[in-house]
Amino acid sequence: MIRLKDVEKEYENGTHALHGVSLTIEDGEFVFLVGPSGSGKSTIIKLLTGEIVPSNGRVSVNGFNLSNISDRQIPLLRRSIGVIFQDFRLIEKKTVYENLSFAMRAVGASPRAIRSRIPYVLELVGLENKADQYPPELSGGEQQRVAIARALVNNPNTIIADEPTGNLDPARSLEIMRLLNRINELGTTVVIVTHERDLVNRFHKRVVLLEGGYVTGDGVGYDAK
């Protein structure tokens, strides 16, 4: 579960990114976080992944209290979250399989666990035939599916996707959203930051609207407010 309670965030340069944001996302939910540039979406992502701490208020993710999390607990928090970025952030000199095994190695998975988990995840994202290919040999949509597979490979409770379709054409974007929806149906909480109104409206899911650091809307569909 993700819970933000009266969260304020002011950066060192004086930018006040969030103003008293309160938000609860239950386990298994699918939520779109939408809003214009500078509305505070990225700040929320950084708070949820433990990259920054709130100036005030309380943030908890999957049982970790991020307001006073220790350095030793941050890796454990991150293992409970899978993060997907707009620019995929794949290692180009590693194959699809190696990109995934690298992520599993990093959290201490055994070679045996790696061998049994990766084929399953690749099949889930429809890339079972691309395991030996390198990211530059794949299309944008396929690269994003590799990124999703990497986010899933350590079996996290929650997937956080930051503009996952920002670099894709409409058809590939829809494909990726459907894939994330399917992952949600398998029990994983999914939080997607996006500003693609049409795409959001196709899915009839919960939408949280942020503007100027405030939550200005929370309901089903982009136009919920």
Binding site: R72, R78, R79, R89, I91, R105, A106, V107, R150
Partner: protein, 294 residues
Amino acid sequence: MKHDFRYFLHEGVDNLFSHGFMSFATIGITVACLLVMGTFSLVTYNAEILLKTLESEYEILAFIDDGSTDAQTREFGARIERLPNVKSVSLITREEATAAFEERTLDDYMRANLTPDMFRDRYAVFVDDLNLVNQTAGDVRAIVGEANVRVDEDIAGGFILVRNVASAVSLAMIAILLVVTVFIISNTIRLTTFDRRDEIAIMKMVGATNWFIRWPFVYEGFLLGLLSAFLAFALQWLVYASVAKGIAAADTLQFLNIVSFDHIWQPVAASFAAAGMVIGVGGSLTAIRRFLQV
């Protein structure tokens, strides 16, 4: 989490070759620094041994008044021997002193006219610690009389000064070179970490611990340091052996008794290996620190 030695070593070796030229340059500079450090240490070590030999020959002379009986002379010797900082005491009779003088002097007239009456019995007093020679001389004076002790304080002071200066210079050079080499290795590894910053960011993102990220770089630094140490040791052996051979062959340098490398290669090898490892691991830990902030 289990320490995955094979994985970390593989990644460390991979890092080493990903910047082959830089690694080669780092090894070259580290070898040079270790060689200079080793040379300073070995010169200091040999100087120390030479000074110790000279120190062991340094003596306080305690003269016995002519009127003293044999029993009194023996009593003086026993009392001196019991003094603190006295290593040994040796009685030199007036006859022995005469013979020794005769052997040393180049003046034929003097030699022809020498008689034992011109000398007195004396004790040669050898000390443990030259730093305390003044105090020991004072104690000896209290036994045999103020005017009966000859001690060359300037020579003792000279020995101490030479030894202290040599140690200080050597230590300072070693410290400076140690910092320089740590900096050089740190820079090479910083280049590797910069090259792999995306991988590091991904590892952080998926929940790798800082130590999991550090280990490959620690192994890289360790290997760089160890390889440099090995090469520096081999070169040091060559240089030392040739210098020792040169000194042994030079007539004017016979007083310099250089310790054979065969007798010291083990501690020298251990010191080089330890210095290489400390430099390598220290350099890598310094380099990686900044990349683990997020």
